[in-house]
């Protein structure tokens, strides 16, 4: 019986869908961001004369990497995309809107069961709502803009069962870090489905956190079967009925992997490798220079509110720089309405507007050589967030560390 990815593909392809076969896939949602977007435009202009876009109502630009642009390169690329979009009737979610993979969920453009591609290696985040999303290069995305189709090799699916429930303090980020550690090397080029009580309890924000780090696990995409909350949210946003896709009980998994989560606790990835995961409690005292809370992994309302709850009424340690970047404009609005903005400001935070911000080399600045940063993003390869040493952890651990001035978990 088919797994989730196989079921979604069957609804979007006329070809025979079986593991290992290459099929033509109809793509419901097609996006390019400011990174590689200009290349997509160049490919289209160089290879075709006119009639560049199969369906403008399904095609979007989302600017998020560098917003507003603080390099001339990005500014030029964004303008190339804007002008192309104007001429071809494509909507641009411009530099004021937020991280593309989140914006398409908020806008109701992505919902359970659809297929989507974009020039973002974390576009598989859409597994969080039970949709197929995939990041691709500029040649592939230009082809999708032009034809509405892409070719894809049907990957095998690994079923991950989380066993038990932790009784101590845990977050979705700790769960994601545990998965990177446990699954690295075992899911290369494969789809994942996540099951277990802990997954059922995850909010949409928590699901996004877990799904966003499947890229670091080496997987193609990780599906979290949507619950009522997710379906309700997506229905409201998309304003249409939808058919979430679930696997059959006896679906054909290549492998089942059990991960015991009953002892899950605050975890942290050491600089240079997201899979080098340790317990926060086991770290020696490491002083931090900067703290970044945001990114497509931890930039939702819930993430920033969790940090706020730890920081409110207090002051961060002297000499610590706390940078907060909500994932989208909607999250910004929430922070304003709830007074979170003021609380964070009073605690000493720098607050940037919505985008990727501190991840990659976005608009909120990078780390310098020797700088120790604790970040809620998903990658800490050398150079990704500057030349400093970046640790990856939850918003809670990041906020507690900002207060203490050294890496620490939240005190009970």
């Amino acid at each position: 019986m088919p797994t989730i990815i196989e079921k979604i593909f069957r609804k979007h392809s006329e070809d025979r869908v079986e593991v290992g076969s290459t099929i033509w896939l109809d793509v419901d949602l097609r996006t390019a961001r400011d990174f590689a977007g200009a290349q997509v435009v160049k490919n289209l202009l160089e290879n075709y004369d006119g009639d560049y876009i199969d369906d403008p109502s399904k095609t979007f630009f989302t600017f998020d990497c560098n917003a507003p642009a603080n390099t001339i390169g990005y500014a030029n690329n964004q303008q190339i995309c804007r002008e192309f979009a104007r001429k071809n009737g494509i909507k641009v979610f411009d530099v004021n809107r937020g991280i593309g993979s989140h914006v398409v969920i908020e806008e109701g453009l992505a919902y359970p069961g659809i297929t989507a591609v974009g020039t973002d290696s974390h576009f598989n985040i859409l597994g969080s709502i039970g949709a197929f999303g995939q990041g691709m290069g500029d040649v592939d995305i230009a082809f999708v803009f032009k034809t509405g189709k892409t070719w894809f090799e049907v990957p095998p699916t690994v079923k991950v069962n989380f066993i038990g429930m932790p009784d101590s303090r845990w977050t979705a980020k700790d769960l994601a870090l545990l998965c990177v550690k446990e699954l690295k090397g075992k899911v290369l080029g494969k789809a994942i489905e996540f099951y277990g009580e802990i997954v059922d309890k995850l909010s949409l924000a928590g699901r996004i956190t877990l799904a966003s780090m499947v890229t670091e696990m080496g997987g193609i995409i990780g599906f979290i079967p949507p619950n009522e909350e997710v379906i309700e949210f997506c229905k409201r946003r998309a304003n249409k009925d939808m058919q979430p896709v679930y696997a059959d009980k006896d679906a054909n998994y290549e492998e089942e992997i059990d991960i015991d989560v009953s002892n899950l606790e605050p975890l942290i990835a050491l600089p240079g490798n997201p899979a080098n995961v340790k317990r926060v409690a086991d770290l020696p005292s490491i002083s931090v220079d900067s703290v970044f809370i945001g990114s497509c992994t931890n930039g939702r309302e819930e993430d920033i509110e969790a940090a706020y709850n730890i920081l409110k009424g207090k002051k961060i340690a002297e000499n610590v720089m706390l940078k907060i970047v909500p994932a989208t404009r909607q999250v910004w609005q929430y922070m304003l309405d709830k007074g979170i903005m003021k609380g964070l400001f009073d605690a000493g935070a720098i607050i940037s507007h919505a985008a990727c911000g501190g991840c990659a080399s976005g608009q909120i600045g990078m780390t310098g050589r020797g700088e120790v940063q604790i970040s809620t993003s998903n990658r800490n390869f050398k150079g990704k967030q500057g030349e400093g040493d970046t640790y990856l952890a939850s918003p809670e651990t990041a906020a507690a560390s900002a207060l203490a001035g050294y890496i620490t978990e939240v005190e009970e």
Binding site: D15, T22, Y48, G137, F143, T147, G189
Partner: protein
Amino acid sequence: MRIEGRVWVIEKDGKLIDDIDTDMIYHNKYLHITDKNEMAKYAFSNLEGWQDFPEKAKEGDIIIAGENFGCGSSRQHAVDCFIALGIKAIVAKSFGAIYKRNAINSGLAIVECKDIDKAGLKNGDVIEIDLERGDIKKDGKTIAKAKPMSPVQAAIYRAGGLFAYAKSI
């Protein structure tokens, strides 16, 4: 569809090299180059023992490599440098997923063959590959079986790449 060509066995100490990443194929210090013909000069220029590959390779040659060929970054240069050299196909035990997409999209034949290390090939041997059947032959005898190119990949390959394919549909 058949390809015939002289092979280069990318090995070290008698063993096919695994995990040749995109920096070994085409180092990031040459990423600013946009002229494809110029890229030819730097193919394998960062792979120990193979730096002189661009001088040795001839139009129509075939590369033989180990597991996970082309892992690493998504740079198209790592495919284009071989196309510019006139390389007709890469036969490897397995490929990095993005490299495989990039190569197929550019019309470079990608042949996945788990047992290619057991075929006893030496530099300069001439082989014939039937892309759709997966047969790899030398002197008329089948020496290894590769994964047949899927109909989709074959269609893109026949058209000469993804953009050319789009014009045909």
